[in-house]
């Protein structure tokens, strides 16, 4: 099998004309682990939203949200290929490893972004599609291109991108944004800083070499430990808001409550233990547990609604707003 070589001279640059990428490399470009969390939280948003959606249309909505997340990942890898090549955690990604060219990643990500938003709009819901488009824009332009390399608050603000999926799932069913979907957003939004800073504490040397001003690099480890604890103190009570608003039940109260105490305990350990391998272990524990905790509370919400467990009565928001004269 042969292919016409358009260049007249044969040299190393000719190689660029042939993609060396396997289909699996494009799959990796979509950050499948991040995508799985996006799909899961979006699914929870869809299931607990009031109203109904045909299961097949719901599955299409999830597929579109997953592809939108994949587009964000691919465009992020395209833009960040230079710093990915420096950091040990990311140097084996498809672009720095040389398996996919930057141009291929840009094309792939752009097509996915356009395709996923259009498909979600045409087949499911335009409000959900608008939210998905904004999420991709926020992750790629606001976080990746702007905040990531300029401010230690990068993942605090950028974390919004990862928090939108449950809101998109909710909007796919209801066509609206409500206080409940904002609470789901807030849970993931406030979870992001302690989660990523726990990782950044261990990988701070990587970030320093790459010139990314993560909090441990720009403000130091002690300040990061303090911020992790402060954000955890805000995050755990926010996880209890679904009880207050009446879209969570007793199982959620037990898991979010007990799990939240464990979260605070691990955050406190990160704050207290500052030297040697024990400090790294404390950070890894919080990082790993934070993933488990987020999964556990969303899974509990999902199960409670799927098997119709009794929910807390919650606060009547309409009465509250009317009573406040708003």
């Amino acid at each position: 099998m042969s292919t016409i070589n358009q260049a007249t001279n044969t040299n190393a640059s000719d190689k660029a004309e042939f993609s060396d990428a396997d289909a699996l490399d494009f799959w990796q470009l979509m950050k499948p682990r991040v995508m799985s969390l996006v799909v899961f939280t979006a699914l929870v948003g869809m299931v607990i939203a009031p109203g109904t959606i045909h299961p097949f249309v719901g599955a299409v909505a999830l597929l579109c949200i997953a592809l939108g997340g994949g587009a964000s990942g691919a465009l992020n890898m395209w833009y960040d290929a230079d710093i990915d090549a420096i950091m040990t955690r990311t140097k084996n990604r498809p672009i720095p490893a040389g398996r996919i060219s930057a141009g291929e990643a840009l094309g792939f990500g752009s097509i996915l972004a356009f395709g996923s938003v259009s498909m979600l709009g045409v087949l499911v819901s335009w409000p959900a599609a608008a939210l998905l488009a904004f999420t991709i824009f926020f992750y790629v332009v606001i976080y990746t291109m702007w905040l990531k390399r300029t401010t230690p608050q990068n993942i605090v603000i950028g974390g919004a991108a990862g928090a939108f999926p449950p809101m998109i799932g909710w909007a796919a069913v209801t066509g609206t944004v409500t206080i409940e979907s904002i609470v789901l957003f807030l849970i993931v939004f406030m979870w992001t800083p302690p989660h990523f800073w726990a990782l950044a504490l261990v990988k701070s040397e990587d970030y320093r070499k790459a010139g990314v001003p993560m909090l441990p690099v720009s403000a130091g480890h002690d300040e990061t430990r303090k911020q992790i604890l402060l954000y955890s103190l805000i995050f755990v009570p926010i996880c209890l808001l679904p009880l207050l608003l009446g879209f969570a039940g007793y199982a959620y109260a037990a898991i979010a409550g007990a799990g939240g105490i464990a979260f605070l305990w691990l955050a406190l350990n990160v704050y207290r233990i500052r030297e040697g391998e024990a400090a790294d272990r404390a950070s890894w524990r919080l990082f790993g547990y934070s993933i488990f905790y987020l999964f556990a509370i969303f899974a509990t919400l999902l199960v409670e609604h799927l098997v119709a467990l009794p929910l807390f009565t919650g606060v009547d928001m309409t009465a509250l707003i009317n009573g406040a004269g708003l």
Partner: protein, 57 residues
């Protein structure tokens, strides 16, 4: 100057590994297109199928 149209085209042989990867990419594209056809057909039927069946004659 030589006529570029008469220049012999230089051909590059793909290695077996490159051929295999290209085949994998092609299969992935084909599967994706097939899935899209099924999805658009099925959702169209779900959304407007009932209206077509129940239309005024």
């Amino acid at each position: 100057m030589s006529d570029p149209n008469n220049e012999e085209l230089e051909l590059v042989e793909l290695t077996p590994a490159q051929q295999k990867r290209r085949r994998n990419r092609n299969i992935a594209i084909a599967v994706t297109l097939g899935v899209l056809v099924v999805i658009f057909y099925a959702v169209t039927m779900l959304k407007i199928g009932a209206n077509i069946v129940n239309r005024a004659m």
